[in-house]
Amino acid sequence: MRYLLGRLRHLLIVLLAVTFLTFWLVNVLPGDVAYDIAGLDASEEDVQQIREELGLDRPFLIRYWEWFTGVLRGDWGQSFRTGERVADAVLSRFPVSLELVVLAQLFAVLLAVPLGILSALRSGRMLDRVVAVSSFLFLSVPAFMMAILLIYVFGLWLGWLPVTGYEPPSAGLWTNLRTFILPALSFALAEWTVLMRVLRADMIGVLQEDYIAMARAKGMPMWRILWIHAMRPSSFSFITLLGLQVGNLIGGSIIIESIFALPGVGRLLIGAIYARDFMVIQGCVTFIAIAYVVINFTVDLCYALLDPRVRSQRAGA
């Protein structure tokens, strides 16, 4: 319990620092939004007036404090451009990004777990080497490159799946899922390799334990040994990594969402960056950082659930 509280405090400090850094980055740097809104022929007074309307002329720290207390009250500010409330804008796009990330990790886990277990069982043999080499190849294909390849093969050449566009779930589950398969695969085909390697390494260690030999000697079927006895102690690094990857994917979804024209948080964010809509940028980054922290904390909770030793042992640390 003390371990978890300590982690929580640590993560909250991180969250605070992230929002502050972003606010600083977005606000102190040159090229402020007032010039953009005012247009090219605006006089300096016009720009100044817009600044005052938006409250940009006040000191940075005061604005941060106002923004921060606002967030605590649930008010994330408004878009400078459209006047849309930032919280609404982010939350309405969030389900799309969530679906993308969850599907991507699902595909990645579906690839990583069987292949990781198999190559741990047959470590050093042919299968293990084939998996190792192919994981190296996949690791070297960035997500955006994989996206182009998948679009070409499955979208243009075979014509099986739609290339771009988004269908809401209300249009039918399959219609909705179809639009997510290629984007999710673009992520998953790179991510599974890392997961697989970690699982394989841990699994090899666990399979050498005495209690596994004991279970084998009892004549327990192999699948049962692997799933019931070996999986749990092998899954610590795996789960940590899974959590870290989700954090990366939320950030990386910017590219994939814009390639496949999915209306998620990433699209919102990149649109805001091009338009210098600082409140929206700030909102998106804060949202992503919160997601990162929540995921990390969940991972820590999973640790404690999976390994009883963590609950007591790390309490002092």
């Binding site: 490159m145 182009i148 950030g251 910017i254 990149i270």
Partner: protein
Amino acid sequence: MRFWIRGFEANGRAPDMASTASEARSISAGADPADSAVQDENRAAKVADRRRRRFGVLFWLSVLWLAALISAAVLADYLPLYPRDEMDFLELETSPFASENHLLGTDLQGRDILSRMIYGARVSLIVGLCAPAIGMAVGLAIGLVAGYYRGRIESLITIGLDTILALPGLVVLLLASAIFGGSLTVVSVSLGLLLIPAFARVSRANTLNFAQREFVVAARAMGARDSRVVLRELLPNVILPVTAYGLVVVAFAIVIEGALSFLGLSVPSPTPSWGGMIAEGRENLAVSPHVSFIPACVMFLTVLSFNLVGDALRSRLADIRESAV
């Protein structure tokens, strides 16, 4: 200085290095001249091990590819290449090997893909080498300090690093190039700053590993100042594994630069870059996929090569360190 102490290793180790009793026994057994059978066995195993660990064909192919790419990028101005921006309106989107003039074909605007690819390599390589260099220089310093002094400094540093890690990296890069305008310097520096935590963690872990060793303890016992211990005793040991790790980060940096220029937020448009070329080819992917796929293949091969070389060096270094213990 640090070799004659090796005899202490078995019992002089710090407790958290977890030297088990059996390990200590095997070390003393190896030193026992009477036990020559064990020694022979060890030697045979070592030779076999060395043969297995020798760098393979793939490693040398990767080195060859990287050497060729780097020299092509450096010597691009002297190579018999088409001007990278010249549009050949007679040969738009020609396929590779189909035209006498353009070996790898032309893109949507009739520009020579081979020459754009080689000039694009400059962008990727400059960012790919500079950003990790910046990250490594700073990260190494931070990691050494954190690993050597521990305590409050270390926890402060950890919070700082976690903050950078919690920042969505790509977003910060996009912001930086949207605000400052995309240029090699902006991309390299901001990517370099974001790479600091990764390097700092690796350096810290390695420093922790060495800071407990006898040669460090001995240096301190002889009255060496902290700066001397860190720079003369720890740094030479820590820098090798960190550099090997750096090669893998180079691959990562090239990928990130590719993603940025794919989004049009790295070097501005007429300058060729791999990511930009891939993005341009997207417009007519169905008809002439080679416009995207050639730079994609080149980038893939480069990233793969850096990964392979880095990985091979890393496991080689791990072996050397193990055998030194």
